[in-house]
Amino acid sequence: MRNTFSILIVLFASLAGAAEIHPPAQVSAGNSITIPSSGSGDATFYLLGPTMANKRKVQAGSDITVDSEQLEHAGVYTAVLCASDGCSSARFLVNPAAPNRLSFLVHPSRVPVDSPNRISAVAFVQDNFHNFVLKPEAVKFSVQPKDGKEISAMRNSENGVAWVRLSSAKKEGPARLGASIGKANEVRIVQQVAADACNLRIKASRAKKDFVIETDPVKDCSGNSVPDGTVVSFTKMDATGKATVDVPIKRGVAKVELPIQGQAKITVASGVVTGNELEVAGGE
C-alpha cells in the first residue's frame, strides 16, 4: 500500500512541471541536509526512505531542512515537493557513515589444543546506525593467549565482512580474540582445552581392606592436563565377576577403591582411549 502510494506520488510529480527541489546527490548517514526548492506558496514535502515515510508542510522557494534522525538508514531516498502548481521529485543516496561498530562472531567457544584452522573469527563492519559498510575497510584482528603476547593482523572487509581463520595453540587456556575498527573493539574468549588423554596409566596399591586404583596425572599428547570432571572408566575382572566404575578426574587424577578377590585384571579407558592393564592379587 505504501509502495503504491509512493509510486503514485512520484509518477504524479514527474508528470507535472512545477516547483523543483535539488537535494545533494549523496549524503552520509546521520547527517542533516538542506534541500533548496523553487516556486512559491504553501507546499507539502514528502520524504520516502528505505524504512520511513514523512510528510510535512513547507514553503515552496525556501530551503527545506531534513533532520539527521531521518537520514540514519543507508539507501535510496526520494524527496517530493507538491505545491499548488504541481509536484516535483528528486532522488538521493544516503551512504553508510564511517565504520564504528562491529558484530564479531567467533566459533567455536571451546577448541581442543593444536587444532589447525579450527577457529573462525568473522567481523561484520557497521556504522553507528547499524548500516553495513560495504566498501572495503581495514579490520584489525588480534589474538592474545593466556600469559602470552598479543599478535595482530589486518584484514580488509569485503561487502561488509572481514574474517580470519586461526589454529589453536599447543597450550591449554583461554585465548582472547579481538577485532577493532574505528572506536569499536570487540573481544571474545575461546577456551583451548586439552585433547584426548594420552598414555593413560594406572597403578594399584593396597588400602585397609580394598585396593586403590589410581591413574597417573591424566594429560593429553601435548602435556596439558585433561580437565577435572572428565570421566575415566575402570574395569575389574576377578573371581566375583566384572566391576566397572566411571570416575571423574579430580585434581588431575582419577581414583577408585575396589575390593579384589583372588587374581584380578584391571583396565582403564577414557572416552575412546584405552590405557594400560594391571594384574593384581587380592585376598581369597
Binding site: L102, S109, F124, A243, T244, G271
Partner: protein, 367 residues
C-alpha cells in the same frame, strides 16, 4: 397371577446379584479370606498389600518379632523418592515351589505399575504352618545401616550462563557440546528393527544427549523416525560413553536402504557426583530361566540416588555392539549400600555375547 410378576422379578434380581458376585471375583475374594494352604496364605497377604491394608498384611507374618512394620511397608511403598514411591502393585502371581506339612516355599511375582512403565519383581517366600493357618516368614533385611556421618564431596559441578535475550547480536554464546556416535548396528528382531550403538561426549563440558534415527527406503523416502527415548544415558560428562538403543516396531530390515543418524547435544548444568560402582557383574540364568545380566550397584558418594537406571551394552567377539538392554531399579541407592540389579537379555543374543559394559544413569524426583 398378580403375584407371579413380582415373584419373577424378585427371583431375577437375586439371580442377577449372584451372577454379578461371581463375575466380580467373589469366589476368589472368599478364597482369599482363608489361609489354610501356603498358596492361599501368600495370596491373602499380597492382596492385603495390594489394597494397602498393610497392618493386616503385617499381622500375617510369622516373624513379626524380627521385622519392623515400617520397613515392611516401605518395601512396597518405597522410600527416599525411589521408583516404588510412584508405583502401585497392580497384580501378583503365586506358585508353590515345594511344600511339606510344616513349611513351604512359594514364588511370588509382583507386577508394579510405575511412572516409567511396568516393573516386575520375583521373590521366593517361605511359609510356616501355625495351627490351622499358614504364615509368611518375611526375609529379614540384613543390610548394614550406614551410621550418621558427614561425607565430604568435592567433585566438579558445571553451571552455564547463556547469552541473554537483551545482548546484542554477535555477542558470543557458548557452543553446544561435541558428541559423536562411535558405533551403530542395525538388527532384525522378530517384530522390529533395532538400532544399537554407543555415543561419546568428546567435549570438556557436560552434555544432554539424545540420539535419533530416520529409516530411509529404496527411493530415499522416510519410512520411520524414532529416538532413543530412555534407552540412553542422556547426561554425559566429558568423555563419557553411553550405549543407546532405538526400536522401530513392525519394521523389516530388508525394506531399509539407509539409516540417517542424528545425535543432538545441549549444554547443561551437571554434577560429577554421585559416582556409582557396578560390582559383581555376571551373565547368568535367573530363577525364571531367563538370561540376565546381574550385579550390584554401590553408591560411592553421600548423596541418595532416588531412581537408578542400568543400561548395558553387549559386544560380540569382534567388539561390535549386538544388543543394549536397560532396567530401572526399584530401590533408592543409599550411600555405600549395595543394591542388586538384573537386566534381561534375549536368549538368542546371549549366546553371542563375548563381553559387556554397564553404566548407571540416575533420576531424582523434584518436588
Amino acid at each position: 397371577m398378580k403375584r407371579v410378576l413380582p415373584l419373577t422379578l424378585a427371583v431375577l434380581t437375586v439371580a442377577l446379584i449372584i451372577i454379578a458376585w461371581f463375575q466380580s471375583g467373589g469366589v476368589e475374594r472368599r478364597a482369599l479370606q482363608s489361609a489354610s494352604t501356603p498358596q492361599q496364605a501368600a495370596r491373602l497377604m499380597l492382596s492385603q498389600i495390594q489394597s494397602h491394608k498393610f497392618d493386616a498384611a503385617y499381622n500375617r507374618l510369622a516373624n513379626r518379632n524380627e521385622v519392623d512394620e515400617n520397613s515392611f511397608i516401605r518395601e512396597f511403598t518405597g522410600s527416599y523418592g525411589s521408583l516404588l514411591t510412584i508405583s502401585s502393585l497392580e497384580g501378583f502371581d503365586v506358585g508353590v515351589l515345594h511344600a511339606t506339612d510344616e513349611e513351604a516355599t512359594v514364588r511370588a511375582k509382583f507386577h508394579y505399575a510405575t511412572g516409567v512403565g511396568p516393573l516386575d519383581d520375583t521373590r521366593d517366600l517361605t511359609l510356616q504352618r501355625t495351627g490351622d493357618t499358614w504364615k509368611v516368614v518375611w526375609p529379614v533385611d540384613s543390610r548394614a545401616k550406614l551410621p550418621p556421618q558427614v561425607i565430604p564431596v568435592n567433585y566438579l559441578r558445571w553451571d552455564v550462563i547463556s547469552r541473554g535475550s537483551s545482548d546484542d547480536w554477535g555477542v558470543q554464546n557458548v557452543d553446544s557440546p561435541q558428541v559423536r556416535i562411535v558405533s551403530m548396528n542395525a538388527i532384525q528382531r522378530p517384530d522390529s528393527v533395532v538400532l544399537v550403538g554407543e555415543v561419546v561426549n568428546e567435549d570438556s563440558v557436560p552434555a544432554y544427549v539424545n540420539v535419533g534415527a530416520t529409516l530411509l527406503g529404496p527411493n530415499d523416502e522416510e519410512l520411520a523416525q524414532e529416538s532413543s527415548f530412555d534407552k540412553i544415558a542422556h547426561t554425559l560428562l566429558p568423555r563419557q560413553v553411553s550405549p543407546y538403543r532405538i526400536d522401530f516396531p513392525n519394521m523389516r530390515l530388508d525394506k531399509i536402504k539407509n539409516v540417517r543418524m542424528d545425535a543432538k547435544a545441549l549444554l547443561i548444568a551437571a554434577s560429577a557426583d554421585p559416582v556409582i560402582a557396578i560390582d559383581q557383574q555376571k551373565l547368568e540364568t535367573d530363577a525364571l530361566g531367563k538370561k540376565v545380566l546381574s550385579g550390584k550397584l554401590t553408591n560411592q558418594s553421600g548423596q541418595i540416588v532416588s531412581i537408578p537406571h542400568v543400561i548395558a551394552a553387549y559386544y560380540d567377539s569382534n567388539g561390535k555392539v549386538i544388543w543394549v538392554s536397560d532396567g530401572y531399579v526399584a530401590q533408592a541407592l543409599l550411600p555405600q549400600t549395595p543394591v542388586p540389579f538384573a537386566v534381561d537379555l534375549p536368549p538368542d543374543v546371549a549366546k553371542n555375547v563375548q563381553t559387556y559394559r554397564v553404566i548407571v544413569n540416575h533420576f531424582e524426583l523434584t518436588t
